[in-house]
Symmetry: C2
Subunit: 384 residues, 2 copies
């Protein structure tokens, strides 16, 4: 049905109606007192979301801009860094690091597998001269639905003593617990069209004291992404450049909703939906692309057998107006991905699982009694 | 009156209601066919607006991001460039150029004065070794309401033969005639919250063939602002990174409105409003900060005598709900600026001139018979 599409992709995620309404307010002057109040309020709310007393800066740009900002504001040309790479976004941070002339050591895992914290430990332990300046990794790898063990890898970085951790938490922040200060993470990058429940266009960089110390010796060239300019202006509740004002209206509304729900409730909701999705998928005879224990709370990747994943995706879009994500690069046609991130309720979960069973049945590819998948999903939702 | 503020600042500018409505549509997937159609359509519309067959690329970011992209995608470390500097934005391009290690020669003019094309000619003529790679300048200097003679300066660059012109047309594009191909301008940067009549968050870079040739040898590091990535994806009607989807909805609507009005009508409207504003200001005994012949079609800066410009600005906001811009840096309190850029009609012009007369009268600072200013404004509007 025209104009009744439900986005169950890993971003943009569903946007609440009252957040959408804010988007259509007339912009106000970005140097006005009214706008300063919004910057002040959202900055406090962002600190709450990041569980930190550190600065959280807002950039008009995509999550990649925020992640690039974290890298180029803390490092210098020739610096040794470790990049974790087990998917499309891990690959991207390798490219960014190389574009700026960093000396990149890559720790890889197969797409669908998590990064191994032991490999980070070994590489960091061997670095007795303390030449490694940063460990750069993706927490929730959107391309594969795998969550990496950020806490364990960050602990290895802490043991190293010199390096900082720069974490892409674009699809994990607001989906699972990432206590920035408690874990001692130095840089966290995220984007608006994910757990934040607002349209794309804003991104966020949280910077610890240690990250700012690294900033004092960082010499990579930048201007629009120069975080010192954002720090200097956020302290005056402002921005260095004209920001996406309407997205700030939306941000204020969505963070207020999130505060009302509460962090623990948000995390519990995501974990419950993740489990209900995983169990439903398995019970209808489909394979999870990533093992359950490494599954992201934001997205579940499914690897169907004997049927093109794109067929399933197209059919579910045409018949049920549910948009799923396809596989990227070599996984195109091999997997599809179900987003359960942000403004997602039980109805979304039961509808996608039911629609999947129906679709497989229609394609003659359902390898389980019809109803077995949704029965399991309902059981998880009723008991978790 | 609460929520009835009219923005007459140089950006954000007034946004039409049907454009605001587009902002509150639910985002669609940025890899969907529906979104590709929007990218394809807006790209064609942008070429129309720029009067070019060259590529026009859309970045999620401010005008500064677009201008920085123009600079860092065409130049290399140590390259000699000339920066024109006669206001806050000219100053900014000097800073950007220095941040990337360019060898910057600055041609200055006093704030309120235009850049002198002869100075560019002389400096370019002296460069017999053809070391100067670019001339970087602001067309309409938002901080002072001065328009620089982009055509004449660009002609000097053409005579040089080696350098390219990188022009900040943020507050001139969509306000006056800038035929990119006819004049042979290489890079034009602009931003959404100006003549485009949409909220801030998108910016645009138009790149000529010569600019792309310069790109092949450019070695400055970049990733989010790497225009080759935008070129590769725009050819597939897509973006390299998740763009501000809702601003694209708005962009499509506003460019469609602009096409309906027609380029010449848009330029004539701006010229007429500029003249009606300038004449009204003079007739009420106020001083124009920039001489009329150098006045920007987007903004008129006013330098009142014996009264703090901020008092006038505050009073007109409190009593008439019209937001004017103040002076920046050393001009704070000395000038105020009237934006007449974008979605502006005759009502906006007569209301701001009337409100100004009323405000000066109330402050006891009106140096002409009351009504003389608006009479002149009306006369211009009726006869131009």
């Amino acid at each position: 049905m025209q104009d009744k599409l439900n986005l169950m992709i890993p971003g943009p995620t569903p946007v609440p109606e009252n957040v959408l309404s804010c988007m259509s307010k007339h912009p106000i002057g970005h140097r006005s007192k009214d706008f300063q109040e919004i910057v002040q309020k959202t900055t406090e709310q962002l600190k709450w979301l990041h569980q930190t007393t550190s600065d959280v800066l807002t950039i008009t740009g995509s999550g990649t801009a925020a992640m690039e900002a974290g890298i180029i504001n803390t490092l210098s040309k020739g610096d040794q860094v470790i990049c974790g790479d087990n998917g499309k976004f891990g690959e991207r941070w390798v490219k960014v690091s190389k574009a700026y002339g960093l000396d990149v050591k890559v720790i890889k895992a197969e797409w669908g597998q998590p990064l191994d914290p032991n490999q980070f430990r070994m590489m960091l332990e061997r670095d007795i001269e303390k030449k490694i300046k940063a460990v750069i990794l993706t927490h929730s790898e959107t391309s594969t639905g795998v969550i990496n063990d950020l806490k364990a890898i960050n602990n290895e970085v802490k043991n190293h003593g010199e390096a900082i951790t720069i974490a892409d938490c674009v699809t994990s922040l607001g989906a699972c617990n990432i206590p920035m200060d408690e874990w001692g993470i130095d840089v966290i990058a995220s984007g608006s069209q994910k757990g934040y429940m607002i349209p794309p266009g804003l991104s966020f960089v949280a910077m610890s004291k240690r990250a700012w110390e690294a900033n004092t010796v960082s010499n990579l060239p930048k201007f629009y992404l120069d975080l010192k300019q954002y720090l200097n202006t956020v302290n005056k509740n402002s921005n260095p450049f004209t920001p996406a004002i309407n997205l700030y209206f939306a941000l204020e509304a969505s963070l207020t909703m999130m505060q009302k729900e509460g962090l623990n409730n948000i995390f519990t909701r995501h974990a419950r939906h993740q489990k209900a999705t995983q169990e439903g998928i398995k019970s209808m005879g489909l394979n999870l692309f990533a093992k359950e224990e490494f599954g992201s709370p934001a997205i579940t990747a499914v690897q169907p057998e004997n049927v093109d994943a794109e067929n399933i995706r197209q059919s579910i879009k045409n018949n049920f107006d549910i948009l799923l994500a396809g596989g990227q690069d070599h996984l195109k046609g091999k997997i599809f991905r179900i987003g359960h991130l942000g403004f997602v309720n039980d109805r979304d979960i039961v509808s996608v699982i039911s629609a999947l069973e129906s679709t497989l049945d229609k394609l003659g590819k359902l390898n389980a009694p019809i109803g077995q998948g949704i029965a399991k999903t309902i059981s998880v939702l009723n008991n978790e």
